[in-house]
């Protein structure tokens, strides 16, 4: 029943994009008289254009148009006030009539509603918290794993990697069954005499799920940097008069900044856009910005795709800004992040 259609010019754009790509390919092959290595990147570039570049433009296009394809800023106004479109849909004379009957906008459910912004701020807060906790937990873990004298380091690395081989949904569902009322954790609590607690369907549960899923993305960039670091540097620092703590904050910490930066990037980005974890562990009570966008796109009403696109665009801009900021700290991208 969705009346969504790719605009005519969208087909044109895809066509032009594809043609330009083929033309580039042909020109390249002719210039080099045969297939060279970059030619093998062609399938990926094609994939990128079709599934990343064009969709990005489509998101931008939908953000600035109404369902009829006319230019409008309403979607962003709707981001600011989620009842904006609904209020606009009511004829002014009807609104006047309702108000003359003594019904306020609140009564009609049409008053300014900042749920979009509130959710965004809440999502940013949750992502920030998740990143901070991952950093606090992950840095020491990475440091221990990279310690030359700690013989179990490689084993720990494997213990961190293996869970990542499992689908993250599966892991989250497993976490659900651990936390639920009759779950393992509550059984233990009961056995300890503390009694059953409400561990699921609340904000802490969502946070735990996020940390659980994203922690490895903090640990590995930091581990990589620390592991590659020349241990002679810490010996040199000790030789020059540093005790263990001074070695850490004068040498190890500054040199691990690239790893920390890419760890933060790799945790914050998925954390701020996450939506499924909150649904599973929040029991529908905790809504993140990702859930909001998802709901817009699953909705059947007419202009929700456009509003959802506007929300996505706001998020993209925010992420781009934060990436730009992080890139300033680690210009050489030593941490091997994905920026």
């Amino acid at each position: 029943m969705t009346s969504f259609k790719v605009p005519v010019w969208g087909y044109w754009m895809m066509g032009i994009g594809f043609a330009a790509f083929v033309a580039m390919l042909v020109a390249y092959i002719r210039k080099n008289r045969g297939f060279r290595r970059p030619v093998f990147a062609a399938p990926y570039v094609l994939w990128l254009i079709v599934f990343t570049v064009i969709p990005c433009f489509l998101v931008a296009y939908f953000s600035f148009t109404d369902p009829q394809g006319n230019f409008t800023l309403d979607n962003f106004k709707n981001f600011w006030d989620s009842n904006y479109n609904a209020r606009k849909a009511i004829a002014p004379e009807d609104l006047e009539m309702y108000q003359s009957m003594g019904l306020s906008l609140e009564d009609l459910g049409l008053a300014r509603d900042s749920i979009n912004i509130d959710t965004l701020v809440f999502s940013l807060w949750m992502a920030f918290l998740c990143t901070a906790i991952c950093l606090l937990l992950g840095y020491p873990a990475a440091h221990i794993m990279a310690d030359r004298e700690f013989k179990l380091g490689p084993t720990l690395v494997i213990l961190f990697v293996v869970p990542m081989w499992m689908n993250f949904l599966l892991r989250t569902i497993a976490l659900m069954s651990l936390l639920e009322d009759g779950g393992l954790l509550n059984t233990v609590l009961e056995w300890l005499g503390i009694g059953r607690q409400k561990l699921l369907n609340n904000i802490p549960a969502v946070q735990v799920g996020m940390i659980y899923n994203f922690l490895p993305f903090m640990v590995f960039p930091i581990y990589n940097v620390l592991n590659k670091m020349d241990y002679k540097l810490s010996e040199a620092a000790m030789d020059l008069g540093c005790n263990k703590w001074q070695v850490f904050y004068k040498v190890t910490l500054p040199l691990s900044v690239p790893g920390v930066v890419s760890g933060i990037t790799m945790v914050f980005m998925p954390a701020v856009t996450t939506f499924y974890i909150s649904r599973l562990l929040g029991g529908g009570k905790v809504q993140l910005f990702g859930d909001l966008i998802e709901a817009k796109f699953l909705s059947t009403s007419l202009n929700e795709w456009n509003v959802g696109s506007a929300l996505s665009l706001v998020m993209m801009v925010l992420i781009l800004l934060s990436l730009g900021l992080l890139n300033k700290v680690d210009p050489d991208n030593e941490g091997g992040g994905m920026v």
Partner: protein
């Protein structure tokens, strides 16, 4: 004659995973001495240095520093500084901050730090490089910074772990002289680790030859070169002909099927010995007057001299001579008694593969 001993190693024993790395080492280092630990890789020289620096602890034995046992003291409390093999400069700091690193930890005043760093930059000929990043410097410059960073702390002993290993030959020779000059000027004890015998001979006051976790010989460069204690030392320091022989009596030795008069005594009668003759000490004489005769198998031009391999029937001699003899010609070989060095046969298995080189 008893000079002040700054560092004494007493019966140091160390093993890694069941392999003995240092086999009961005893060694002392005097004040203001330039001591070199010399040996092939894996001989334990770097481990010895690291034990003195505090980066490793010995399984048994003691390290005495200035009369105090420092075996259990961490590196940052020791009055020694190290120049590391690959310099280990801090990549996040510029040249000036690298050198000032140790001083800042001592809570010195800014002015004093600046003064000392400037003096050091001057000493290592890198004035004006203070603001440069360390990665932008050449190997030789990084090397100097590493030395400056260690010396600025005015250590009583400077430990140098193959500091010139990564430099090219010409730069290495220059730095050898510079280091020696620096050591004499500052009056600091240097403990230097290298596998390069020429480097050791050029720079040291005392050379400690190590092999297989043991000290084989301690002495001045001249005594080590002229009077090697055994075949390994003789072979490792410079080039040598090493022959198995028999000490017939004092001052008479038999090797290569001939009796040679020599100057050594005290080995007993008919004792098995190793005989060392340096290639430059073999004289090429007429076939009729030589103590041994042979055929020239090959001639190599080496710049200062020719290196000839001479087949003398049961033995092969390496000879350095400034005069060329054609390949295949018959010659006589003679050695003056003073140049024949007699050594006890090494009790344990002599590293034959090293000799074969």
């Amino acid at each position: 004659m008893e000079e002040q001993r700054l560092i004494t190693l007493e019966d140091i024993y160390k093993q890694y995973d069941g392999t003995t790395v240092l086999d009961h080492i005893n060694l002392y280092i005097r004040k203001k001495e330039f001591v070199t630990l010399l040996g092939p890789s894996g001989c334990g020289k770097t481990t010895t240095l690291r034990i003195i620096g505090g980066f490793e602890t010995a399984d048994s034995g003691r390290v005495i520093f200035d009369g105090q046992d420092i075996s259990g003291i961490p590196p940052y409390k020791r009055r020694v500084n190290t120049v590391f093999q690959k310099y280990a400069l801090f990549p996040h700091l510029n040249v000036r901050d690298n050198i000032a690193f140790g001083l800042k930890l001592k809570k010195m005043s800014k002015d004093e730090i600046n003064r000392k760093v400037d003096y050091m930059l001057d000493l290592v000929n890198l004035k004006g490089y203070g603001k440069r990043g360390v990665d932008s410097l050449s190997g030789g410059q990084q090397q100097r910074i590493a030395i400056a960073r260690a010396l600025v702390n005015e250590p009583e002993v400077l430990l140098l772990d193959e500091p010139l290993g990564a430099l090219d030959l010409k730069l290495r020779k220059e730095m050898q002289l510079e280091l020696k000059a620096m050591q004499q000027r500052l009056g600091i004890t240097f403990l230097y680790v290298t596998h390069d015998q020429e480097e050791a001979l050029t720079m040291s006051d005392t050379i400690v030859v190590m092999h297989g976790g043991k000290i084989l010989q301690i002495g001045t460069p001249k005594s080590i070169y002229d009077e090697p204690k055994n075949a390994f030392v003789a072979n490792f320091i410079g080039e040598s002909n090493i022959f198995p022989g028999t000490m017939i009596k004092d001052e008479l030795v038999n090797f290569c099927g001939t009796e040679f008069p020599c100057v050594d005594s005290g080995f007993g009668e008919n004792a098995p010995v190793d005989v060392v003759v340096r290639p430059e000490d073999v004289l090429l004489v007429g076939e009729d007057v030589g103590q041994v005769t042979g055929t020239i198998k090959s001639v190599l031009f080496k710049g200062v001299h020719y290196e000839m391999i001479i087949d003398a029937g049961h033995s092969t001699w390496k000879v350095h001579s400034t005069t060329m003899q054609p390949e295949g010609s018959r010659v006589g070989l003679a050695v003056v008694p003073f140049n024949i060095h007699i050594m006890h046969r090494m009790e344990e298995e002599t590293p034959r593969e090293e000799q074969a080189k």
